[in-house]
């Protein structure tokens, strides 16, 4: 298929997106390996949790002077996690890097198709739908694992008769991003149908 004229001018942008996607894959792989190396031994695993309303003094003032601060999230090191908590920590660590890798690969496939001049094709529609589904599915899966991680680690750290409180902080950005991409995927599906309908029209 011949590349449309309107698209040839913006092919530089597509090359930039491919480079960004490759960098994303490398960074996500690095993060994945680093996090697996921390979590898999189940010894001194650093885990971020959000404790309930902790007020503390931290040396942030001039000459290390202590200033009062509300601690929103802290990183604790935990060992010998029970299976459910361990699965939660492992899952929460793995989900987003895997999501970014899959999305970046799908993005590269989409960009290569665009460079060939194939825009509204069934394969591209599938790719865009998959990107939205992977981001939304990843966000949902991460929420489940993060809940296991958060509650499990708090349970491990606190005494049974004096449980620690705390509420999980949910990052809504992937949800909004996934929903925006789902709308984009819907537009792509309609575009593909319109192109199919107008093929051979004189």
């Amino acid at each position: 298929m011949k590349t449309p004229k309107w698209f040839r001018a913006s092919s530089g942008d597509v090359h930039v997106v491919i480079v960004v996607a490759v960098v994303t894959i490398v960074l996500a792989l690095t993060e994945l390996v680093r996090r697996l190396a921390e979590v898999l031994p189940n010894r001194d695993v650093p885990v971020e949790i959000a404790p309930e309303a902790v007020r503390a003094e931290v040396p942030l003032g001039p000459d290390g002077e202590l200033v009062g601060a509300d601690i929103g999230s802290i990183i604790v090191q935990v060992s010998d996690l029970p299976p459910a908590t361990y699965a939660g920590v492992l899952g929460a660590s793995v989900v987003y890097p895997v999501v970014w890798i899959v999305v970046a690969f799908l993005g590269i496939g989409l960009c290569r198709a665009l460079l060939r001049g194939a825009v509204f094709t069934p394969a591209n529609t599938l790719r865009v739908n998959l990107i939205a589904a992977v981001i939304l599915g990843g966000a949902a899966l991460h929420l489940v694992f993060a809940t296991f991680q958060h509650n499990g680690v708090l349970a491990v750290l606190s005494a049974p008769d004096h449980p620690s409180g705390g509420s999980l902080q949910v990052d809504f950005l992937p949800w909004f991003g996934g929903l925006a991409l789902a709308a984009f995927a819907m537009a792509f599906t309609i575009g593909e149908k319109l192109q199919r309908d107008s093929e051979g029209l004189v």
């Binding site: 107008s198 093929e199 051979g200 029209l201 004189v202």
Partner: protein
């Protein structure tokens, strides 16, 4: 929606009409305001749909009816 195969049964008699009138495809394209490529698609039965505006313009230029231009095989 009609079956996809039915589009292939429509034959365009543009070649014969042009020959009868001694007109070239390029000249028709100029009169009608459609590209030669698109008229060639129509002439070679590769078109799957035709706009009413294109059909009207071709019929006006060739002094014929849609039935003269398109037949079902």
């Amino acid at each position: 929606m009609p079956p996809e195969d039915d589009a292939g049964r429509v034959h365009c008699r543009l070649d014969e009409l042009l020959a009868d009138r001694g007109m070239t495809l390029t000249r028709l394209a100029e009169i009608v305001g459609v590209t030669v490529v698109n008229l060639s698609v129509l002439k070679n039965d590769r078109a799957r749909a035709i706009r009413f505006s294109t059909l009207t313009a071709i019929c006006d230029a060739l002094d014929c009816t849609p039935g003269d231009l398109l037949v079902i095989r």
